[in-house]
């Protein structure tokens, strides 16, 4: 589904990703862990086409297409979804209008007619229930005045609405209390299917108790330096990242 080969990326001339390789197949959940500044968020930004970053070298293919040639909206409509670490507030744009525009743009991209008003409302209702989102939030402007937890829940709600092939969850667990974490994880698990895949970027092992990964990777200094199964996450939780750093620098 997704192949990343020797990916290098800069921001303001500073190299953050330094030759990253990763392969994700349908049905898989990959967790990416690593210390601050390793390049975890840069990876999610580069995959979704954030213009702030420059890709200087490497290849990324998604479902057979050269991802790096596509605009952010094309990547989204191909089925890549990012749950933002810091969801953006957009005053004056209502959630309903925003979601309807997004759904219809996706349908247009796939040569489908716009969604009918009744179908759209039914879809909204269903997916709101999935993430236990307050009705009131859907009537407000996008993320405006939402609490940290509500913003993250809103990300999962949008993910449920758009039904992506590949979802990237960038520190979705940060700032969540235990109940919100359970709801968010529950939403993610319910959306899991053999055709879809997820990349979960996280600092802590906590979220991985709720969403069980097939692979755990350690990102350090712009590269994936260690991969393993879910037990690697536990090991990191116990031992921290220092031993990894020493291992890498020792080489």
């Amino acid at each position: 589904m997704l192949q990343i080969k020797d990916l290098h990326a800069n921001i303001n001339g500073k190299e953050i990703l330094k030759g990253l390789n990763l392969t994700v197949r349908p049905g898989e959940i990959h967790a990416i862990m690593g210390p601050n500044g390793a390049g975890k968020s840069t990876l999610s930004s580069v995959l979704t086409g954030n213009p702030v970053f420059d890709v200087t070298h490497g290849e990324v293919t998604f479902l057979g297409k050269n991802l790096l040639e596509l605009a952010p909206e094309e990547r989204a409509n191909e089925g890549i979804f990012l749950s933002f670490q810091y969801p953006v507030e957009i005053p004056g744009v209502s959630m309903v209008n925003f979601m309807r525009t997004a759904i219809n743009e996706q349908r247009k991209y796939r040569n489908l007619p716009p969604v009918s008003a009744t179908d759209f409302l039914r879809l909204m209702r269903e997916k709101k229930e999935l993430v236990e989102m307050d009705n009131k939030l859907a009537n407000r402007s996008v993320n405006e005045g939402f609490s940290g937890g509500e913003k993250k829940r809103n990300e999962i709600f949008q993910m449920a609405m758009l039904e992506p092939r590949l979802s990237i969850l960038d520190e979705t667990d940060s700032g969540l209390d235990i109940d919100a974490l359970r709801i968010v994880a529950n939403g993610v698990n319910k959306l899991k299917s053999p055709e879809n895949a997820s990349i979960i970027i996280t600092h802590y092992q906590r979220l991985l108790e709720y969403i069980v990964p097939d692979f755990v990777h350690v990102l350090y200094d712009g590269r994936i330096v260690k991969s393993g199964d879910k037990t690697l996450a536990l090991e990191l939780e116990n031992k921290g990242y220092d031993w990894i750093k020493q291992e890498v620098e020792g080489k």
Binding site: V88, I90, G92, V93, F98, A102
Partner: protein, 423 residues
């Protein structure tokens, strides 16, 4: 109307047309627009157009009392098109009414405008011969909006001076929607002065929608006088124009008044809009709120001045002013000047002015959800102007304005929509 003409002319001779040397005009250079040789209709020739036949309203469903000023003359009312006005209400030609009710007109005409030291206002006083007159007697509330459509129609470059006089007695209530349209592809200057007297407990709403072509110079002066416990809302929206200068002054001369002044500008190409506004709090215990928003593209220019004056006696004034502007590229220009003069010590006043670009992080967020960049920009611009549209209290106009603003932002509105004369 002739009484003050000589004095106005003398004042104009002393002042001349305003230049950028004057503090109040430093952002808007009128010299080029006024250098053209314009016709003036001093001999009161009729204009061969029947607006009732050719005009279809920009705001369907508004169901207004509809009146036209073609160039500088009030067009005779077509009674078949308007329902009967409530008893005592007079709406008609200022020049006619000044003959029928000379004492009523004399009591108000020029009382605000003659105090202004402004070349354009003086010129208007010297040359204006007509305009709309509206009188709403005590405790009469108009059941629907009054709509005044200013149409510029001429085969040669033309200047129109008109003067509107609006009087609301105690407890009266009225809404006026002024629409500016141009018909011919010649240069126009309109220099219009509107005086509004809002008596105790009266409520007045003034909407101005400008949708003219880019050879139009629209100079407009709106002067409002508010008495005790009155309520005024003015909302001026420029969707399409050439060069516009709106001078708006609301003098709050009574206690417990509420004033809202709002406006929006969507400019592109070489359009220029200058809103020069003043709210004068002369009495205590009043509230005012001012909100202006501009979206400027290409080489368009915007200017905003928000003068807020609070007199020494105007204690317990609560006045808030906001001007926010988005420049869509590097060549558009915006000048903003909040100007607060507060002489009272027990007041709550604030102001804020910003000039910026569309929020890049919001744009990326929307694109990540599959919304193309162009559409995302549009959504952000539309959201930006939404609160000015919320300051419209006529539902049909509000709904229509949402549509017109969206079309304008999409670049689909290059001239007055629905006006068959324009086609």
């Amino acid at each position: 109307m002739n009484d003050g003409r000589d004095a106005s002319f003398d004042k104009f001779r002393a002042l001349g047309f305003p230049t950028t040397q004057l503090e109040n005009y430093k952002y808007t250079d009128l010299s080029q627009a006024l250098s053209i040789d314009y016709g003036l209709n001093i001999n009161r020739l009729n204009v061969p157009v029947n607006p009732y036949e050719v005009f279809t309203c920009d705001v369907p469903g508004i169901h207004s009392y509809l009146y036209f000023v073609v160039n500088d003359g009030f067009y005779p009312v077509n009674d078949n098109r308007n329902d009967t006005l409530p008893e005592g209400v007079i709406i008609g030609s200022l020049s006619e009414v000044s003959k029928l009710h000379p004492e009523l007109v004399a009591k108000y005409y020029g009382k605000l405008s003659s105090t202004k030291n402004d070349g354009l206002v003086a010129f208007n006083g010297a040359f204006a011969q007509d305009g709309i007159f509206m009188y709403v007697p005590k405790n009469v509330q108009l059941d629907r909006p009054v709509q005044l459509v200013n149409i510029m129609r001429s085969d040669v470059d033309f200047m129109a001076n008109s003067h509107n006089l609006i009087i609301l007695e105690d407890g009266a209530k009225a809404q006026l929607l002024v629409c500016d349209h141009t018909v011919n592809d010649v240069h126009f200057v309109s220099n219009r002065v509107t005086e509004v007297f809002v008596a105790e407990n009266a409520s007045y709403e003034h909407y101005k929608l400008e949708n003219t072509h880019n050879k139009t110079t629209n100079l407009s002066t709106l002067l409002i006088d508010q008495k005790d416990s009155s309520n005024v809302l003015a909302n001026v929206i420029t969707l399409h124009n050439g060069l516009t200068r709106n001078m708006i002054e609301i003098a709050v001369n009574g206690e417990h008044c509420d004033t809202t002044l709002a406006g929006m500008v969507i400019g592109d190409k070489n359009q220029q809009v200058d809103n020069f506004t003043s709210i004068l709090h002369n009495k205590p215990n009043c509230t005012s709120r001012e909100l202006f928003k501009y979206v400027l593209d290409d080489v368009s220019k915007g200017a905003f001045t928000g003068k807020l004056y609070v007199a020494r006696d105007a204690q317990k004034t609560a006045a808030f002013q906001t001007n926010k502007n988005i420049l869509l590229n590097r060549s558009a220009k915006m000048r903003t000047k909040p100007q607060l003069e507060i002489y009272a010590d027990d007041v709550k006043c604030s102001h804020g002015a910003t000039i910026g670009q569309l929020d890049e992080s919001a744009l990326f967020y929307m694109r990540q959800r599959g919304i193309p960049q162009k559409e995302a920009r549009l959504l952000l611009m539309f959201a930006f102007t939404a609160d000015v549209i919320e300051d419209i209290r006529i539902d049909a106009l509000k709904d229509r304005m949402k549509l017109l603003v969206e079309k304008r932002l999409r670049g689909e509105l290059s001239k007055c929509e629905g006006c068959v004369i324009c086609q």
